[in-house]
């Protein structure tokens, strides 16, 4: 009844071509930057983190709906579920970051630490940092695989106990993710600007990747529809995805303003230096970041109609995804390389990692029925209304 996805040779070839093109460009970029290795490693971090975090946020999307006893999401849940399976591969890139640690993180130069960095060195030292990185990857991979396995079991065994177990796994997942999403953001991103700190940072990064994940779900849905799959998705499902894109873009902007306003208002130099650096050296990108990631989805998706039309959702999703890549760029580059650089290296690396992300998605999406038909709330997904 629901057309099963086939990971055809055609799709495989296209993705492998993408990966190869990305690799070629990336290698070319690397070759051109052998004297700026920090730029190379910063890009490994940027794309490694961005797509891994999107994959984890996709898992979070499903988890949170499981805990909230939601029904509508069952129509789309296999998409974020498959996205989440990228996490172990994304982990490989984060392990690569460990290799290039010294080029990104000033605190890793343990011989030249000033007083402040010495104070943090119990936490920010190469050994502990590496252990934490490995731990995040292993724990996240286990959680994602565990959840996925249970979800797939329900396709052959409609026992209600399996769905209850899903809720149990979801509970464990969310507690671990709640803590590690913040600590990993502190480790991998905030510590680049090692003299700076912000208690909001972990949540800010998480919301940025969550919105990006919603955008990716919408874009993948579009691609699948073009291929002739997921025909059961109706306007109500699109409307709900649109609401998430709209609402969480606003929530992201709220967190952006909260962090900025508080640091701007109190005007404490050791905090403001973060923004001064970005406004002075990355000015265009800095303002573009807020405008694109807030104004665009806000204005495009406010009307009811646009949230229900795939074309508008696509436009908004592309803008949001590019916008949050820039957001991540602004979080990493000022501290890692000091001034904006964009060229073949950036394009190549992004295309390369994106290609791998998509390959893993389609491969995993093919490994399961496109919908969890045995889900007790599955029928609810087809008979509800978004009023207004």
């Amino acid at each position: 009844m629901y057309k099963s996805f086939e990971f055809t040779k055609k799709i495989k070839s296209f993705l492998i071509a993408t990966i190869v093109i990305g690799a070629v460009l990336a290698v070319a970029g690397i070759a051109m930057n052998l004297d700026h290795t920090h730029r190379i490693w910063a890009n490994v971090l940027l794309n490694g983190f961005f797509f891994t975090a999107i994959a984890m946020s996709a898992a979070f999307f499903v988890i949170v709906h499981v805990l909230g006893e939601s029904g509508w999401h069952t129509s789309v849940q296999r998409i974020p579920e498959a996205m989440a399976m990228y996490v172990p591969i994304g982990g490989v890139f984060m392990l690569l970051v460990l290799v290039g640690m010294h080029d990104i993180y000033h605190w890793s130069h343990t011989e030249h630490l000033d007083e402040i960095l010495l104070g943090k060195s119990a936490y920010l030292n190469p050994m502990f940092f590496s252990i934490r990185t490995v731990a995040y990857i292993i724990i996240w991979s286990l959680l994602v695989i565990w959840f996925r396995k249970t979800s797939l079991k329900t396709d052959t065994d409609a026992n209600i106990k399996l769905f209850n177990r899903q809720r149990g796994i979801a509970g464990i997942f969310i507690v671990i993710f709640a803590v590690t999403s913040s600590t990993s953001a502190w480790d991998w991103i905030m510590s680049i600007d090692a003299h700076w700190f912000s208690t909001l940072f972990g949540w800010y990064i998480f919301v940025s990747t969550f919105v990006s994940a919603v955008a990716v779900v919408i874009l993948l849905l579009f691609v699948l529809r073009r291929m002739g799959y997921m025909e059961h998705i109706n306007d109500e499902h699109l409307h709900d995805l649109g609401k998430y894109l709209f609402g969480f873009s606003i929530f992201w902007a709220y967190l952006w303003v909260s962090q900025y306003l508080l640091i701007w208002y109190s005007n404490i130099p050791e905090e403001t230096i973060y923004y001064v650096k970005r406004i002075q050296d990355f000015e265009g990108l800095f303002y573009a970041n807020v405008i694109i990631n807030f104004l665009a989805p806000f204005l495009i998706l406010m009307a009811r109609g646009t949230k229900r039309k795939l074309n508008w959702l696509i436009a908004a999703s592309i803008i949001v995804l590019l916008g949050h890549w820039v957001d991540m760029y602004l979080a990493i580059m000022p501290g890692a390389i000091g001034h904006p650089e964009f060229g073949i290296l950036e394009i190549g690396m992004t295309v390369f990692v994106l290609g791998i992300f998509l390959f893993m998605f389609f491969r995993n999406f093919a490994k399961a029925p496109v919908v969890p038909e045995n889900h007790p709330y599955f029928k609810e997904s087809f008979d509800y209304d978004n009023i207004r």
Partner: protein
Amino acid sequence: MQEKAFVSGYYLDDKDLVEGIRALQEKDIEIADVRTPFPVHGLDKVLKYRRSRLPRAGFVAGAFGAAIGFGFQAWVFTEAWPLNFGGKPFLSVPSFIPVTFELTVLMAAFALVFGFLISSKLGPGADNVIFDEEVTNDRFQILLEVSNGNSEQLQSELQSAGAEGVKHHDV
């Protein structure tokens, strides 16, 4: 006051109501009003109501609120009463955001609420006729306006459309 008359028929279930409405629509009988104890899903589609313009009114009012909020603060802080606080610029955009946001919401809310009340002619002292006090309890009512004394005919139409009880009302 022009003399008006209505015929009402009631149902005890929302599904029966919708069937009754469809039956009447098939016979091209114009329905004056439908009254229910709670909003019935899909009723506005069946009755072919135009989508409410309230959202647009809310948006315009909100935009107005935002403009007023930001503009007023900007004027106060650059022209009328510039204060040097912490060396911040007079046109301190981040500081203006909270009040601007609140006024946006306030104006939009006013537009929605008063727009709703005015367009529905509801308000303190409104004297809308209640034809059947059980509507707000558990009855779903269809109202047909009597013209040229066709009350008997309308009543029988309602009964064949499945209404439980049919009545004539003079207003």
